[in-house]
Amino acid sequence: MKVTIKYFAGIREAIGSGQEQRDTTAATLGALRDELIALGGAYADSLARGKAVRLALNQVMADESIALTEGGEVAFFPPVTGG
């Protein structure tokens, strides 16, 4: 299925892009993260297991166990530091 993936802050800088479209077979957000890690390079470094990465699906904070949906907007970002 096709999904839109957004990156923010340090992850955006590392990957060098704020947004991309991808075809994926991942069933969950966690599986999509693993798929991106498998690409290697900056993806593997910035999304590595053990790093603090937060996720959102369709602009709502989400756990990795949440199912991906066709046309969904997934975001990967570091812990938030506003205020």
Partner: protein, 161 residues
């Protein structure tokens, strides 16, 4: 009663007195107004010539929606009349204002609590990221575990820091 925008994300500065006046003018029931203003600290204090700045990034759409949702939650928990949140993004300098939260209620207790609740929520749930520019280079600010603890006292698990 005039409808006042509850959430604004902007690069421009804000005027605290104007925002408070607008909330009070719409509602004669108000007997208490609490506000919180977050500002950019100067980490280079006492070191002349070493100017640092701060850059704020957000997630357009999700940031506004997440703050709207936390204001809805504040209305459920506290007997308040109005709430207003302004958060700046972009490049900010030491001493600049970053964020404003204003809450109105009949008596002080509810607006004091709602104001703190909104800030505790915002610190860990609203997608903003701070990047500090220092003489040694730029670095993204780390989330603080103490901010998660602050939200936990309202019975909400943050899982941010």
């Amino acid at each position: 009663m005039k409808k006042i925008t509850r959430v604004t994300i902007q690069t421009a500065d804000f005027n605290v007195a104007d925002e408070i006046a607008a909330l009070r003018a719409q509602d004669p029931r108000v007997g208490a107004v609490c506000s919180f203003i977050g500002t950019v600290r100067d980490h280079t204090q006492g070191e002349p010539g070493k100017i640092s700045s701060m850059e704020l990034e957000h997630y357009p759409g999700m940031t506004e929606a997440s703050i709207e949702a936390m204001i809805d939650e504040a209305f459920k928990r506290f007997d308040i009349y109005a709430a207003r949140v302004i958060h700046r993004v972009g490049l900010l300098q030491p001493l600049d204002q970053i964020v404003l939260v204003v809450v109105t209620s009949a008596h002080r207790g509810e607006s004091f609590q709602a104001c703190e609740f909104l800030m505790d929520y915002l610190k860990t749930q609203a997608p903003f990221w701070k990047k500090e520019q220092t003489p040694e280079g730029a670095n993204w600010v780390d989330a603080r575990v103490s901010d998660d603890a602050a939200l936990a006292k309202w019975g909400i698990t943050a899982r941010n820091g």
